[in-house]
């Protein structure tokens, strides 16, 4: 009798725990977040995760989505395709209704077959042009693609800085190759051929060879595309080698962490970017940046701000149609959203952001301060 009572008690306890777990799980809207938390790629990934956490916490403080709290299922995609696909499997195993994906296109490409198979909406802030040309109706891009940002920087170099002899420095990743194609096509349409084209690996630590090749070709500007560390090395070595021509750098050069590395060599550098969360006069963006810094003790970058908008856009979709994957996709396809950074509206290919800015950095009191040079808006009419 005693044993029977003991067994029943144990069974009841386990049942209670299972029920509590089931109830707490069911009572939350689960959204996957896949981004790089480890490896060198975490420089962008961690800020994006922070932005998603911030957005979810704000919704939960107000009671969640339609009175149901949001639960983020966060997984690390590190710096490999295999890790990214495993992260996707884990997130899908938790029965999420949508996913905020990583920024790196090589990981997204690897995830696409499963995303399509599982019919799960995935949103991310990657710029690589080809991502939205792969007939994947479940992927949504909420960052201006390379066709937008590279168009802005090339047009600015040619039309505003009157470049006739541009030189190109590109990283050999998908991002660099895609951007190179777009820039050279725009230059070709303008009747201009680059006087030098160089390539480097993302992990390269010395660019003297590439920069000397460029110097010998006597260009009037360098248009570079690189990731944070290599951007810093390129900019610093250009200054060290006395190559005194304008430099139009890609968006990594707008990151505060890059400014610390480049130091005085940021003076005069032009950068194509999307937003400037640390310098924007908009009171809403200023308040958001302040909140972000207070919470995470780090300055946000433009990718983080757009990821925050992306998370909110997705939460609005869930609020409107519930945690149904197909309904979320359909709602996203047809709805405009006004975020902190700008307007989002998806075109046929699921590109949602079409704005870009060109800034020039100046050193003031030892800090790199951007000056807005031109705004571009390529939103389809």
């Amino acid at each position: 009798m005693h044993n029977l009572f003991k067994n029943l008690s144990s069974f009841a306890l386990v049942l209670c725990l299972v029920l509590i777990f089931a109830v707490t799980s069911l009572a939350k809207i689960k959204v996957g977040v896949i981004s790089s938390q480890t490896s060198g790629l975490a420089i962008l990934g961690q800020r994006q995760i922070n932005a998603a956490i911030l957005a979810a916490e704000e919704w939960n403080e107000k009671g969640g989505i339609n009175e149901t709290k949001i639960r983020l299922i966060i997984e690390d995609s590190s710096d490999k395709t295999t890790t990214a696909v495993t992260a996707l499997d884990r997130v899908l195993g938790k029965n999420v209704c949508a996913i905020l994906g990583p920024i790196y296109s090589f990981q997204l490409f690897a995830m696409f077959p499963e995303v399509k198979k599982e019919k799960i909406p995935m949103l991310s802030t990657s710029g690589t042009r080809k991502l939205t040309q792969m007939d994947n109706r479940w992927y949504f891009r909420t960052y201006p693609h390379d066709g937008i940002t590279k168009q802005a920087c090339t047009l600015y170099a040619v039309e505003e800085l009157k470049s006739k002899r541009p030189s190109l420095m590109s990283v050999t990743t998908e991002y660099g190759k895609s951007g190179y194609e777009i820039i050279t096509n725009i230059l070709k349409a303008k009747g201009i051929a680059p006087v030098a084209e160089t390539w480097h690996e993302k992990a390269d630590k010395d660019m003297t060879g590439q920069l000397m090749r460029i110097k010998r070709s006597d260009p009037d500007i360098i248009i570079s595309q690189a990731h944070p560390s290599d951007t810093a090395i390129v900019l610093k070595q250009q200054r060290d080698l006395g190559i005194d021509i304008p430099h139009m750098a890609s968006s990594a050069a707008s990151m505060p962490s890059v400014h610390k590395l480049v130091g005085e060599a940021m003076e005069g550098v032009y950068v194509e970017t999307v937003t400037l969360p640390n310098f924007d006069p908009d009171p809403n963006i200023r308040a958001w940046t302040k909140k972000y810094i207070e919470k995470f003790k780090k300055k946000p970058d433009s990718f983080a701000l757009l990821y925050y908008d992306t998370a909110n856009f997705l939460f609005e979709a869930i609020k409107a149609v519930g945690p149904n994957r197909t309904k979320i996709r359909d709602w996203l396809e047809t709805t405009r959203y006004k975020g902190l950074a700008g307007q989002y509206r998806f075109d046929q290919e699921h590109n949602g952001a079409f704005f870009a800015i060109i800034v020039q950095y100046h050193i003031k009191d030892g800090k790199a301060v951007p000056e807005l040079k031109k705004k571009y808006d390529f939103t389809p009419k």
Binding site: G40, A42, T198, K205, G209, Q210, A232, I233, S257, K298
Partner: protein, 288 residues
């Protein structure tokens, strides 16, 4: 061309300095320590932490980093080498790879993923010599490389402790019979390797910046320099490092930057086919 040669020499010296600790441990105890790149990285990170977070002058940060890394070197030996030194070579190699992953992820957890910059002892300024621009930091790299590689030769041939280390490296049993405390010598070897990692770290970090992946990047290049020069050969390491540095820069500047690494590795294979023992060493097949 002078500019490229200066840059190639500078990169080569960095590869040689980074590879020196690796060769030292290999020659002394026969262990292949693939975590040496991470020790170089930690040398730089400690220097950054002491100089930036604790506000120490760079020279003091350097001294304190030497002490911290000496402790890390002994710990490394006690955890990842001594307990398994009688096991097969592959076990020791796997332990060093494990330590490499542990140190890399520790760096990520402590300092985060953002690249950090350690200041140079000589600042960021440059000197113009004819058509070439040389940074003061590059001059420091040349001077330190010359000092370290000349100093090691004197240390191992002219000092009692250096000779004891050499004896331990040549035959541990015989050294023990001669009254040399072998375990202490092995500990000292790891401390010396850690000191070399600090020197390399302080020279690399102002140029390459510090991130959790920098150790892996540097040990790959240093390892190639070691193989080209001749596995275990100190003069070979210097020549191999400079050969690799020059090849990379000259190929990127005058041939192709897109296939720079492909051509550099092709040259490496060609060199090894012509000289399987590298420039100064024994046949690679006998070592691995």
């Amino acid at each position: 061309m002078i500019q490229e040669i200066v840059a190639g020499f500078s990169m080569g010296c960095i590869y040689a300095l980074a590879g020196f600790g690796f060769v030292l441990v290999y020659n002394a105890v026969g262990a292949v320590n693939f975590a040496h790149g991470e020790l170089v990285m930690f040398g730089g990170y400690f220097g950054y932490a002491f100089s930036t977070h604790l506000g120490m002058p760079l020279w003091l940060a350097f001294v304190v980093t030497l002490l911290a890394m000496a402790i890390l070197g002994i710990l490394f030996n006690q955890v990842a080498y001594l307990p398994i030194r009688s096991r097969p070579v592959s076990t020791v190699i796997i332990a060093s790879i494990g330590m490499s992953i542990l140190l890399r992820n520790s760096a990520l957890a402590i300092w985060g993923p953002d690249p950090l910059k350690l200041n140079s002892f000589l600042g960021d300024s440059v000197i113009k010599i004819g058509a070439a621009v040389i940074s003061r930091h590059q001059l420091l790299i040349f001077a330190v490389t010359a000092f370290v590689f000349t100093g090691q030769s004197l240390f191992f041939s002219r000092t009692a402790i250096g000779r004891k280390l050499q004896a331990t490296a040549q035959d541990q049993e015989a050294a023990k019979l001669m009254g040399i405390k072998v375990t202490r010598m092995i500990n000292l070897t790891f401390v010396l390797a850690a000191f070399l990692a600090v020197i390399a770290g302080f020279l690399v970090a102002p140029l390459w910046f510090l991130d959790p992946e920098v150790g892996l990047a540097i040990i790959v290049k240093a390892f190639i320099a070691i193989i080209i020069g001749g596995f275990g050969s100190i003069p070979g390491l210097v020549v191999g490092g400079i050969f690799l540095g020059l090849t990379e820069v000259l190929v990127a500047s005058h041939l192709t930057s897109e296939y720079k690494d492909v051509i550099s590795f092709f040259i490496l294979i060609t060199v090894l086919m012509a000289m399987p023992q590298g420039f100064f060493g024994e046949k690679i097949a006998e070592k691995v």
